[in-house]
């Protein structure tokens, strides 16, 4: 999006898309439907990143969330049994309190956001740097967290293998 200005129509369509898919994730009875709804929600979030001029984050979102995480979750669904039964069995007893609580939090935070003033002037133009600027930031200023996060990924990989392994293979 050249200029990075606000596009009300595109934003409204994508925002409605994200919210409808998000509500689908938490309300569908069939978990495969929830997973597909989640993939569409991630696609909408990638489109929001494009609207915000952050094309690098949009591409990473497509690769990691839509590509990898969705596949991992679908594998986990396939490895386990689908649950059948009445609709209320899919929600626990706390959901009577959870629904008003989350609605109240959403209303209060939205009211605060709409009525607040920002301490510094808010730009109307897009300020996200281009790919070169982001790469310079990532590999100069943030190179230590970048290396650290690769260690975290390695640890997570080993941990997942150890956890998901069968007990009798350990002997």
């Amino acid at each position: 999006m050249p200029g990075g200005d606000f596009h009300p129509i595109a934003f409204s369509i994508i925002a409605a898309w994200i919210l409808v898919c998000g509500i689908g994730v938490v309300t569908f009875k069939n978990i495969v439907h929830s997973a597909v709804s989640m993939v569409f929600c991630f696609l909408g979030v990638a489109a929001i990143y494009l609207l915000l001029n952050a094309s690098l984050v949009a591409i990473i979102q497509l690769l990691v969330y839509v590509g990898a995480i969705s596949v991992v979750i679908l594998f986990a669904i396939m490895l386990t049994e689908a649950q059948e039964g009445e609709y209320r069995l899919f929600f626990n007893r706390q959901s009577i309190f959870a629904f008003p609580l989350t609605v109240a939090v959403a209303v209060v935070v939205t009211a605060i956001l709409v009525s607040s003033r920002y301490p510094q002037p808010i730009s109307l133009k897009s300020l996200t740097p281009n790919l070169k600027g982001l790469a310079t930031l990532l590999f100069n200023v943030y190179v230590f967290p970048f290396e650290l996060v690769s260690l975290v990924l390695l640890a997570a990989m080993i941990g997942a293998i150890v956890l998901a392994r069968r007990e009798d293979e350990l002997q």
């Binding site: 998000g22 938490v26 990143y49 995480i69 706390q94 959901s95 510094q120 943030y142 975290v152 956890l163």
Partner: protein, 102 residues
Amino acid sequence: MSAIDWYLVLATLLFCIGAFGVLARRNLILIVMSLELMLNAVNIALVAFSNFVPGVAGKGPIFALFVITIAAAEVTIGLAIVIANYRNRRSLQADSFDELKG
């Protein structure tokens, strides 16, 4: 309302949808999926802030990339625990995680 407010309201609503999923659903895999929705909402807020606030320009996408990486690690570990629990209990219900009770 300026443009940033709309993005922040969207992030708030998506976060609350995810929080409802975590609080109200019983299926462990669905709880992990709702957690992902919440992390996505936070990422939208980060990228929106860095796109419109001059002081933090450029830092939001970097931080969002780190959040995405940690989310990938979290989902692998979380699903490995869910699968290990399912193998022992034959259940995906959050209530079946009661081995440490008393």
